[in-house]
């Protein structure tokens, strides 16, 4: 079975540009979460979607947005990129809503570099 897949794996963007990151969850999983991980830190929660509805939002500016499609795949969009947005962006899927009692399966991440 395929795990969580993310695309692209690496990306270089210029300040002020827009970026779209994509995630396909494990087959049968209805929940997708997005995390940002900067070097030396743990993943920081950005969004969680379950059954195509937003179920949680972390402390990120409105430049960050996301959505989930009918096939449960998801996109994370970041507008007006800043140098500080450079990070590893992780997508995680789970069968149910991702609370503390649910195992999360992570993809390999998208390494975003803003120059």
């Amino acid at each position: 079975d395929a795990g969580v897949t993310q695309s692209p794996t690496h990306l270089i963007k210029t300040r002020g540009q827009h970026v779209t990151l994509r995630c396909s969850p494990i087959s049968g999983h209805k929940s997708v979460s997005w995390y940002q991980q900067v070097l030396g830190q743990g993943p920081q929660f950005i969004f969680q979607y379950y059954e195509k509805e937003e179920r949680g939002r972390g402390n990120f500016p409105d430049r960050f947005s996301a959505r989930q499609f009918p096939n449960y795949s998801s996109e994370l969009n970041v507008n007006a990129l800043l140098l500080g947005d450079s990070a590893l962006y992780l997508c995680a899927s789970s069968q149910t809503r991702t609370g503390g009692n649910t195992e999360a399966f992570f993809g390999q991440g998208t390494r975003l570099t803003v120059v």
Partner: protein, 113 residues
Amino acid sequence: SQKIEQNSEALNIQEGKTATLTCNYTNYSPAYLQWYRQDPGRGPVFLLLIRENEKEKRKERLKVTFDTTLKQSLFHITASQPADSATYLCALEMGGGADGLTFGKGTHLIIQP
């Protein structure tokens, strides 16, 4: 807001010994706590989940304890091997009605042959 503390310094352990990692949290009383392993450039991999009413959980060479009074979890790897070298992350449910996990910074474990 809740805060999770893990020893951010690297932990060096001799092969064959038991490695013990610590996760402390404040300002929250989670019902669940999770541990993940992360290798460089890769996404975290789930290892163990422990509930507040469970004092201890084991999986092969791994053992996790959860002390809700001390607000602390200990993660043990027995008979450690160089392949166990990685960063280990502690995670809690965010709480407050929001889904998602709050992670600690992680502890970098190095098992020396």
